[in-house]
Every structure is written in C-alpha cells, then in structure tokens.
Subunit: 282 residues, 2 copies
C-alpha cells in the first residue's frame, strides 16, 4: 500500500495505471475508520482493479460550533487497517494541498441539500460537495463508494455529479451496523458507556417504522409519531428530525405508495447521531 | 465538420479519438461568431489535433433584465464560418441537454468574480462558471481557449480550474480588434452607425492610459480620470467602470510598480460594451 500526499504524486502513481486500463475505485473518508469504511474499500477491491482511499478531515464541511478540532484523528490505525485489507493507495493530503491560499471557489449544492442536515448544518453540504468534486478531479477514478448511513450526502453527491456532468459513477453501499443495530460511525467513539446503550434508540425507532408498515399501517404522521415516541422513551437528549421522506427528492412524504426512507438525527449526550432506513412497503 | 447535440454523441465521437492520443482543444462560445472567436478556433487547430467549438447561449449567465432573449443567434452562419476554417466538431446542445429538469447545482465563483462585472451583473459569473465546468466535464479536452476581451471571465475560469483541480489547461488569447481598434464582440452588431463611431471611445481611453504611462505618468487616479474624460468627451451614455486593476486579483491598484490592466465597461446607446488592455510599465 502506498501513501500519497499531493495531487502530483497521485498523478505520477495513478495516471499510468489508469492508462493501462485499470479501473480505479475511490473511497473518500475523513479517517477514524471503522468497519463501515472498510466495507466500502472491500467493495472497491471487489469491483475495481485498484482501490484508493482518501483521508482528509475537511474543514469546510464543519460549522463554526461543530467538532472539527476534536474530530477523531487516528491515522496510524487507519493505515494499518487499510493495509490489512489490501487497499492499494491512500491519499492523505495536507490542508494546504486541498485549500491553498486564495482558494475561494465552492459548490452551491443541489436542491436535495436544502432540508434536514442542510438546514441544521448550514454550509455543511457546500463543503462536502466541494471537497468531493475536488477529489473526483484529482483522482482518475471510475467509481466512488459512499455509505448509505449518510443518506442525504449520497443524494447530494449523486445530484451534483449528474448536474455538473462529472464523469464518475457513484456507488452507494449498505450501512454497516454493530450486532445490536447501531450504525457504525466515527462519532460513536464519543459515546460514554451509558450513552452507547441509549444510542441504539435510533435503530429501534427505524425498525419500529418498518414493523408498523409490515403490520399494515399507512398513516405517515402516525409512524413518525411512533418513531419520536421511541426516541423520547430512551430517552435521547434531543431530536433534530425523525421523518419519512422520498428516497429521491428527500421531500417529506405523506403517502406510502412507493418506497420511502425513514431518517433520524438525534443527540445522545454530547454526540449527534444520524441514521436512516429504506422502508419496504408491504 | 460534425455537429453534435448531446453529451452521448460527444462521448461516442470524441472519446475514441482522445484514447488514440489526440489532443483536443475546446472553444466555448455563445455563437454569433466573429473573428475573435475564429482566432480562438485557429489557435486550437494550431496547438491541438482536434478543435471542438461549443455554441450555447447560456441562460444562467444572463440577469433578468439582460439581453438573453434578444442575444444574436446566427447558427447557420456560425457553422459555415467554423467549417471554412477547418473546425472538426461543433457541439450545439439544446437547453434540456444542459439544464434538464431538476438541475440545481451551481458553482459559487472565486473571489476574483466579486468586483466589476460580478458586481454589476449579479449571478453572471455563477452562470459562466457553471456552464464552463459542465462543458469541461462533458468534453475530453486538454486545453480550452478564451478571449482576453472578457478579461475577468478568464480570471474567474482560471481560478475555478485551479481551486477545483479541474484537469484542463486554460489558454487566454489576444483580443481581436477592428482596424480602428474596437474590440470584436457579438454585441457590436447591436450598434447603430452613429453608435459604432462612439464605441471606439473605449479603445481610445485604453490607449490613452498606455500613452500616459509611456510618458512617465505614475499616478493611477490621474490616469483613471483621463480615461473617464475621454469616455465623457465621446460621449458614451454611461460608464460602469474605468479602472486600473491588478492583473491577477483584479483588485484596484494604486501603484504602477508592476503590470496592471485597464478595464472599461460603458454603455453606447442601448449596447453595453467592455474592453481592457494589459498596460506595459516603462
């Protein structure tokens, strides 16, 4: 496994491989890797000839009161894990390689960024879309892998790639969960033992939505209430949203005539968690 | 010369040529072609194996009170001229190919877009940057050619390409002028005979700035005053700006210790004209 730190090194190492016909798969991450990330790299290995992981804690996607400074940074362990599963290249740029002095161009993200995370974290998807487009331009990848745990992020990136005609395929991958159902997340390591127990409430609420649909419930408001009820019973410390939305537009849905996504963001202790589940209708 | 109308056709025709090692040069235009555009195509022919011109009157770069609807559209004559000088491909997309329903992602342009045209035409560079990035993503070009007549546009596109790591070379080309000095522009055809005479005032003002510097003047405010004086004597109908700016940042300059650009935007009759000149110091 080779570690690269500049766009020039990427080009020197990867363009020749691309021109030889290798299919390159890209897994953009902010490090603090867990089995969710590793499953993306494994998928890239399975589908492509060369897997490239990027590790960069992107400042432009954090709000001024968010956890950029204390976001977990575990580079040694990240590299060890990536090497162990056969990742071919890791791109670990410095901030100056990504945002040199004078960098002022950003992406104004698509409409699907407006609600939910976009509303609660102003500027978040602007930062996400910008760094992701930059990585797509730097790396000659054919496919990029993203976890469905960040459902709206995948929707934003997919819409951006479509709108701006970016020549890359976006491959969403299933959320990886702990045995009890908690979605893997770099932020889970913030959880105290007691909070870890409460964090499972998000998955219970999502599971409840599915079981209500399986039981024939068709009233969206009723299902959303049941999700909140479970979250409040845990209790979580606050709920940002618990909603049933359209899987494409992410607009609120009032019918269940076609598949929907249940999405939740809630705070447990000082940790903000998000999760979602694509719900099967009957 | 082949005329293409969809991104799929571009790919079918051009990707094979690119993979065979051809260097592809791109000339994005809004049609209504004049010798300025043709000089860009000739430069692309000279430097590249294949020259591609695009013709698309981009609605997103026009303000609500601007001339989108009446912008000159002269496709037959454009194609004839391009064919005559050996252009290889022309991409003439429909609006739906460029902005299909749901298109909502845009580029937030770099800082160099803030002043001058950016201030007077809000949203203009957002539209320019977005269409240009889309064309860069659709077309496998190695170099793109732009006329220096739109000096700030070239600066915006160059900064965007640098900031977003777009793998293309931006090649600015000299402004082509009528024998009396008027910069060629699609909007010149709006000018009445009397306005055509007055339009030359922009070039006279720019030339005055150079001759004052040649004569040893070093006071920027004095040179800007002289430019305005010439424009007012013509007279033009209004002056949006007549300024001496830094050729990189386009910030106002107060010294002449290194090269500067003189930029002018003025209205002659109902036609808004812009022009500029890179000034040699001593």
């Amino acid at each position: 496994m080779k570690v690269l730190s500049s766009p020039e090194e990427i080009y020197a190492q990867l363009d020749f491989l691309r021109r030889q016909g290798n299919r390159i798969g890209l897994v953009p991450t902010m490090g603090a890797l867990h089995d969710g990330h590793l499953s993306l790299v494994r998928e890239a290995k399975r589908e492509c000839d060369i897997a490239v992981t990027t590790i960069f804690v992107n400042p432009s996607q954090f709000g001024p009161n968010e956890d950029f400074a204390k976001y977990p940074r575990t580079l040694d362990s990240d590299l060890e894990q990536l090497s162990a599963i056969g990742c071919d290249f890791v791109f670990v740029p410095s901030n100056d390689h990504i945002y040199p002095p004078g960098h002022t161009t950003f992406i104004e993200p698509p409409a699907v960024a407006a609600n939910w995370e976009g509303k609660i974290r102003p500027g978040h998807f602007r930062g996400v879309a910008t760094i992701v487009l930059k990585l797509f331009n730097m790396l000659p990848a054919r496919v990029a892998y993203f976890g469905r745990k960040d459902y709206q992020q995948v929707a934003v990136i997919s819409a951006m790639v479509r709108d701006l005609n970016v020549p890359i395929l976006i491959q969403p991958c299933e959320t990886v969960r702990e045995p009890d159902g908690l979605a893997m997340s770099s932020r889970n390591r913030y959880l105290s033992a007691a909070d870890r127990v409460r964090a499972i409430g998000l998955w219970h609420a999502l599971s409840k939505a599915q079981s209500m649909i399986d039981d024939g419930f068709r009233n969206v408001a009723q299902i959303e209430s049941a999700m909140r009820e479970i979250l409040n019973k845990v209790p979580v410390d606050s709920i940002d949203y618990a909603a049933i939305v359209d899987p494409e537009s992410m607009e609120p849905r009032t019918d269940l005539d076609s598949p929907v996504v249940a999405i939740i963001a809630a705070r447990v202790g000082t940790t903000r968690l998000i999760d979602n589940s694509l719900l099967r209708i009957q």
